[in-house]
Homo-oligomer: 191 residues x 4
DNA sequence: CATGAATGAGAATTCATTCAT
DNA sequence: CATGAATGAATTCTCATTCAT
């Protein structure tokens, strides 16, 4: 029974992800979500209190998944560069392997579709990276600038790759990933 | 008479910009746009054929404004670094001075609210920067990578500053702008 | 449950019929239809995909009802004159007993309010009459002319009676019906 | 100057006719009419007090044109059959030569697009035919039935030919016209 | 008279949400 | 819990008509 519940919840989140990332937040009406999840429209409200809650929940879910992936295999003992490299490649790998999720996250960053409060919550997940940067700054490796700047040059560009990839303009080969990491690393480190 | 026409058109574009950048594409119904522009709802359709056309027009208008600002004072004789620096600071200056416009552009990049065809049109405006990169690559200054990568590390991060600034989390001081440019420059150049 | 569904659908068709036949196709907005059917405006779209579909469905429904009435008691063994007489009186009886339906059909014949494809569909129902005419022609009773001509003089005039009756200018008594049939019969037969 | 006035009025009537007969009464907005007449939207209201007046005027104009054509060459001295034949062929000729007008009239007969009062006015034009029928009845040639019946079998069927012709289903050849007249004549006369 | 931008009521349609079954 | 018909407010867009120029 619990499984079934979980199944429906998951199916709804998944359907929402599909629709929003493929057709935009508008063009993702509850009726379509329900149909795609193979569930009745009314059932949604047994799992989510309203559409905002559904979207917020999806955002949190994916953000969590993403951060878990990002820190996969990472521990705080690792040398700074190795840690950064691991995290960076984890991130790009997740985004390439999960384009819908990546696209959804991008859409959420710049728009108002996710509640402000929820977006703030999600920031906390990033703490290990903040710590790592701080450690790197202590060691004189990472530039002594606001984490916002570090984020802007290490993490944020990844969204761009997803956006253009989605429009089939561009595909990031693994060689390009290497270059891209070098560029990120050059940006955030002291030469 | 021409003035009046231009006025209303401009007022409508401006109202759309206000609403979309402050409250998102949804929550920007035509009725609100009309009211904010101090115009009757039906009047919108004297200037734009439908909502998509209104949004597309706004996008093109702003993109054009942005690119004009970006290339202000630039000529192709300039040394590579000087040119890049000029363009980069032009861009950040425009975005800081015009947060609504900047925010609107960000929203458009990752979502489906602007027509694909219009977004493609807008790309052409970037040509001078592409040429400059190529020149820099020819001189062995700029990394020999896809312009997508160069864009991702030189231009794209600017959007992030706007996004967080909007949420009052962060303000990019002029010192930070200096650092930020150095980071961008490090990313795209051969050390 | 099925009853309720059918009820609402029927109520909507009936309301549409009322409004269109009494006030014309324009002056039959969806809101009025809904109100007359004692149903919410949005409910219409649970039963019909749009206004065109609603009108088309109504047309098919009535045309079907009309043709059923027309061929009531008819079988292909009947002598030609008897068959024609039966059908003709069935038709006039239906139209007199159902002036709204008759009027609606008239409105549809000459205007663009019903989809071309649907109007074509409806033609098939007339097949038995075409067969009967052919049989009559084979026997040298019915004029050897295009069925369009036969239709024009046997069936089409009935619409006129409905049109004028509706404006209270004229009522077709049963004696007149007799005369009218004789006129139709004279028109389509070889003297 | 008077010519110009007349020109614009005529152009507007003509544009209305075009649009209504080709695309139906709905799909004939004032703006389109104005554009097709090469006139400003506001100008319409210098010639007609509103849309209803425009349509009514068009109806009267065409009905008048039609009746003039119908009685072309007719005088009350003519023998009954000759008179009827002349009028009948005048009518069919007009309708075949002026399909838009014919179609417009058909649309008006069965719908509510023309004011009731105006439709009544138009009936008066038919007086000479009523007189002719009466004369024929006096002579024992024409059936002694209501003029409504005579109209239904002599005049009304012509509308049908126009309706089907418009849909390209059928074309009335001159041989068919002969047959059709014979059918009409058989219908309305005493054998 | 002519223009055509402006109006705003009203049209068709959508959609998040509710609730009886 | 699940259903899905029903709701009605909200949305986009149309259109007859007006009026300042």
């Amino acid at each position: 029974m619990t499984d079934k519940n979980t199944d429906k919840r998951t199916a709804l989140l998944s359907a929402t992800l599909d629709l929003v990332s493929n057709h935009g937040f508008h063009n993702a009406p509850m009726a379509k979500i329900a149909k795609l999840a193979d569930v009745s429209a009314g059932t949604i409200y047994n799992y989510f209190s309203n559409k905002q809650d559904l979207v917020d929940s999806l955002y949190l879910h994916i953000k969590n998944e993403f951060t878990n992936a990002a820190f996969q295999g990472y521990d705080e003992e690792k040398p700074v560069k190795e840690g950064i490299k691991l995290i960076w490649f984890n991130m790009i790998e997740y985004k390439m392997a999960n384009p819908k999720q990546a696209n959804f996250l991008s859409q959420c960053e710049d728009s108002q579709i996710v509640s402000a409060s929820v977006r703030e919550q999600a920031l906390e997940h990033l703490q290990p990276l903040l710590n790592l940067w701080e450690r790197g700054q202590g060691k004189g490796v990472i530039r002594d600038v606001s984490p916002y700047l570090l984020y802007a040059y290490m993490v944020y560009p990844l969204s761009f790759f997803v956006a253009v990839k989605k429009r089939d303009e561009f595909h990031l080969t693994s060689e390009m990933q290497q270059h891209s990491f070098e560029m990120a690393w050059s940006a955030i480190t002291i030469k």
